[in-house]
Amino acid sequence: MSALYNYVLNLADNTLILGQRLSEWCGVGPFLEEDLALTNTSLDIIGQAKMLLELASEIKGDDETADDLAFMRDQHLFKNVLLVEQPNGDYAQTMLRQYMIDVYHVYLYEELSNSSHEKLAAIAEKSLKEVTYHKQRSELWIKRMALGTQESHKRMQNAMNHLWHYHHELFESNDEIDELVQQGIAANPEELHKKWDVEVKDLITQTPLEIPTTGWKATGGRVGHHSEYLGKMLCEMQFLQRAYPGCEW
């Protein structure tokens, strides 16, 4: 499959899987306004997934639709980073995961808005408006929890200890991506990583949170090596299309 297809599919799967995870909060948020806000974030992100999967389908050029890509692919063909498939955990974990992705998305879509690939640039431009708002919100939650009560600080530190190891994967590169960067299509992962690091660490220094200094680093999503969580999540998400293939819904 083409480098562009793989690149777009990674972006698409990151959003699809994150949106699916966020939608699990629908109806059970910590209070009504948050329930609305989180569902709205989920809506935005699944909307991005839909646009990106449609683009992937178009690049692929056969009869596989965006829905086929979402609902009929097995887990080893998904290219999302492991961060987005992690269970929601408590609200601290959900919001830290969100913040990590939001900062990444803001810089990513800023770059891609200038992509030489017209459709990718258009999707990025639209999505940038959404993720800019998502970031404002998740950033505030990191502060609220890190600086709120003892319990909220403890929970946010636990989330940090768990999730920090997953961020490196967002910025992994390979020969295909390097070439797309050269062509002005893709965003440079190294540049994104630098910007991400500055911004996230700046926020953390405003809080008592500590960054874990050692530990394992997540990897493998781009080549289909996922955590155990993804398979189960797909079983649920893909149930109807798998059980009753070929139907219209």
């Binding site: 939608s23 059970v28 948020g29 910590p30 809506l43 965006a66 929970r155 299309q241």
Partner: protein, 325 residues
């Protein structure tokens, strides 16, 4: 709570002249606003009705959210999420409308969680297959619209204005529900069976949404006089049935009522007596999902306690900082 100074008759001074003047305003179709004098029973009835309505929106998120993670296409997933988000938004407007009557959202929420306050019994039934996501929109939102369109003209201003907005969104909800039913009913034999099964299970409880028969409705007469209610339970129920039967026919589905028949003389559909014992039993707490729904709401509330506390403490810290500066 900001009940102090409320201009009504809480001290038992329902003076006949005040009551008479109030009724005149109602009869003249004037809207009653939060700062106006109102009989304490009017206020109490509205708080009960609006908070029940708000609770129904909030609990009503749960049966539909049951299918979000399994929605069959990206488009359906987005529509369903947006619809449930609308329902939560309706809850928010309605709690706000009830707050204008002097009841705090916190108190209303506590009454819901303790089981003291009621919500629509329809949400105590399970959503068992994907067509239920359709049937809920088509029938449950359809029945709700019948009630709510009438409530757009209710006498209490904030409630009436909330309803206008809610009705606009609900009519989309009903259409999306019918669109799901249409796909299912015209789809494979398995899809059609799911659609029929969802209709079979949802029909009876939808008719119960209009409340007890007029002859047994405890709150109806005074509410009609005060124009909180504009139509009787039975009239709205009949209107719903008359509108829905042709829609079911178009889908090629059979409404599960062997006595359902168009009556040339009345110009309405006749239908079987509703199983009222079932309604009263579900209201009492004995429906298939009462416990599950309340457990889910309580769990969400309890799990969210530390989040709400953190937000409150952080806001206070920020304020203190500002004051020091």
């Amino acid at each position: 709570m900001y009940s102090q100074g409320l201009r009504d008759s809480q001290a038992g001074d329902d003076l006949p002249e005040l009551l008479e003047a109030f009724q005149k305003r109602i009869d003249a179709e004037e809207k009653i606003e939060p700062r106006d004098w109102m009989p304490s029973a009017y206020r109490k009835t509205l708080i009960r009705q609006i908070s029940q309505h708000a609770h129904s929106e909030i609990v009503g998120q749960l049966p539909e959210a049951n299918w979000v993670s399994r929605a069959p296409t990206l488009k359906r997933k987005l529509i369903l999420l947006a619809k449930i988000q609308d329902e939560a938004g309706h809850g928010l407007y309605l709690y706000s409308a009830a707050e204008t009557l002097g009841e705090s959202r916190h108190k209303m929420f506590e009454d819901l969680l303790s089981g003291k306050a009621k919500y629509s019994s329809i949400f105590n039934y399970p959503t068992l297959n994907w067509a239920d996501a359709g049937a809920v929109g088509w029938l449950v939102d359809g029945a709700a619209i019948m009630n709510q369109v009438a409530l757009c003209r209710t006498s209490y201003g904030p409630y009436s204005r909330a309803m206008v907005r809610i009705c606009k969104e609900e009519s989309f909800h009903q259409r999306q529900g019918y669109a799901i039913m249409l796909k299912m009913a015209k789809g494979s034999s398995e899809q059609k069976a799911m659609a029929q099964d969802a209709l079979n299970r949802t029909w009876g409880p939808s008719l119960m949404m209009f409340g007890p028969s007029d002859k047994d409705s405890t709150h109806s007469n005074q509410s009609m006089k005060w124009k909180i209610k504009r139509f009787s339970n039975d009239d709205l129920r009949q209107k719903f049935i008359d509108a829905t039967v042709p829609q079911a026919e178009y889908l090629g589905l059979t409404i599960p009522d062997k006595n359902l028949k168009y009556n040339d003389k009345t110009g309405h559909y006749d239908f079987s007596e509703i199983i009222w014992d079932e309604l009263f039993d579900v209201i009492k707490g004995n429906g298939p999902c009462n416990q599950q729904r309340m457990d889910a709401r309580n769990k969400a509330y309890n799990d969210g306690a530390w989040v709400r506390e953190a937000a409150a403490v952080y806001a206070k810290k920020l304020n203190n900082k500002k004051e020091v500066a």
